[in-house]
Symmetry: C2
Subunit: 344 residues, 2 copies
């Protein structure tokens, strides 16, 4: 029985000290350097067209984790060092993420346009859930209404332009002296972690627990009772609002998404065990964020001057569809979170 | 125990014969005549502006019930009489119902436009469900976007015109010799029901059970598993379809709505006890039908030539909103129906 309490995969088993944090940061820094090398080789070597994309994703992945650790375990790290590195990591993460964000936003919107046109993608299915009594899919009619086609072309033009710009910005960033300074700092981190003097003997767990508490507090403040009622019609409530930034209701959910990620990364420092429920909850909030931004992109495209009414109509349907995706994601998060609350 | 089995409110307690049907038809015919008198007096006497509306509703109410009884209990009634009356009742019910349908469709769409604009109607609330953690409603901003206001004006124009025409048609119908013939037939029915010779000793219950079976079969054939998954995204799947009649998926639900009504009225003949669950299930399907038709009206308004893109955008959002109401109504019906299936 005592053995079980000391099981190494239980993050709460015994004190975890600064050494664990140092080990985690070193391994993330190593991942960063490896991804950077792959990214630089990506253009030259024949690794397939996906290689630079994967490398960029791996870069972002390690940057997010280093940045999160600097935040959560701040008292254990050299203050000057972490305070100067954190904004640089935020800049890098933001800059590297934009291209992918525009790309996946366009993909999401075009997929939705086809779904709403009754066209069927055999591989992807048409709904968010695997259902058992769905009738056999109709053959792809392969034709959109004029409005849907024009809306798709407009979104393609706008988001491809934004993506291209984001690509240039990312390339410029990766070639900048600012980036080289960050990369140098992370290269040093791969071998030597600037822990605060007190860190070696200090228990990490209270800091990780504080991250969890921040998450719990923010999640508890969400309108989860509403979200748990299917078809509560909350997400589209400002769908035609004259307010230029009509979705302040999304912000607390975005905030919980960030806090959940901080909590998840803090757990990673303590234990390599993956909490599947945390992953699922995070995926719900990723979907919430993606749908929220896709809805905004459709609304923004509809404000393009001189578009045809049919195009505007299709963009209106698309906007509402994505706002309902927002609502669906909140419902899914509520279901997931409730299970979590019951089982812990 | 035997007493309980013979309890008079249990429709299956003992044989119910043609006398019960005759009594039911007489009372419905009396209701019809009373409503007709109130309707005719409505213009002359000071009964408030609602009186003719209530009288028209009461007229439709009794016509639907007489018509349903003629259908369900056909073998018990004089064939020539019922075969000649049924199409007349269908004509009357359809003609009298149109004005109200256009009126409530417009009301539903304008309410949705205001809800989607973030404007709050204190009395009506903003969502389909009473929720406990909804934040205090923001004060009515009282302004719509240009698009929402123009969409509202367009719908108002189109549906008010349709309603006015329906009103004239109904008035013409009520003054026609065709109507007077129906009214005369019903006046006779109020005192003398033309039962078939065999009816007096025949049990009504097998015919009522057959009506229930037709309902059960049709409800079982609905995609209830899909409908029971919240946010299944089925209802909007043809939201931008080039198909001019894009919602064949609604037809089986409309059919179940009619069969449920036939079953409910057949139960009324057997027993005055109201089955609340049947009422609720019927209300879900009414809401389904109303949202389906409102969505079609928004789509149709968007095809008006030379509308502004902002108007078309608002109509697109509105269409999608109502299609999600369709989906919500299916979910609510599934929940209601499932409970019913478990408890019977």
């Amino acid at each position: 029985m005592a053995q079980q309490h000391l099981e190494p995969t239980d993050p709460l088993a015994g004190p975890v000290t600064g050494d664990a944090l140092a080990g985690y940061l070193r391994s993330q820094a190593t991942e960063f350097l490896r991804a950077l090398r792959r990214h630089r080789e990506g253009g030259a070597e024949a690794q397939g067209p996906e290689a630079p994309v994967d490398a960029a994703r791996a870069l972002r992945r390690s940057v997010r984790r280093i940045s999160a650790s600097l935040h959560t375990f701040r008292p254990l790290l050299d203050t000057d060092w972490s305070e100067s590195l954190r904004p640089e990591l935020a800049w890098l993460s933001g800059t590297l993420g934009m291209e992918h964000a525009y790309e996946s936003r366009l993909e999401r919107l075009l997929l939705a346009l086809h779904r709403l046109s009754g066209a069927v993608f055999p591989a992807q299915g048409t709904g968010p859930t695997a259902l058992t009594d769905r009738p056999a899919p109709a053959p792809d009619r392969g034709n959109l209404t004029v409005g849907a086609a024009k809306a798709g072309a407009l979104l393609d033009r706008q988001l491809t332009l934004a993506r291209t710009r984001a690509h240039s910005t990312a390339l410029q960033a990766l070639g900048s002296s600012r980036f080289h300074a960050v990369a140098d700092t992370i290269a040093v981190l791969a071998s030597e972690v600037p822990l605060a003097k007190s860190a070696t003997g200090t228990d990490l767990r209270p800091l990780a627990e504080a991250a969890q508490e921040r998450l719990d507090d923010a999640a508890t403040a969400l309108p989860l009772v509403t979200a748990g009622h299917p078809y509560n019609a909350e997400a589209l409530i400002h769908g035609l609002s004259p307010d230029p930034s009509p979705h302040p209701q999304d912000a607390p959910w975005h905030q919980v998404r960030l806090l959940l990620r901080l909590h998840r990364y803090a757990r990673e420092v303590l234990s390599p065990a993956v909490d599947v429920r945390l992953l699922s909850a995070g995926q719900c909030l990723d979907r919430h964020r993606d749908a929220s931004e896709a809805a905004a992109a459709a609304a923004s495209a509809a404000r393009t001057p001189r578009i045809a009414p049919a195009t505007a109509y299709a963009l209106g349907v698309l906007h509402a569809d994505q706002r309902h995706e927002v609502e669906a994601a909140r419902f899914a998060f509520q279901q997931c979170w409730q299970k979590q609350a019951v089982s812990t």
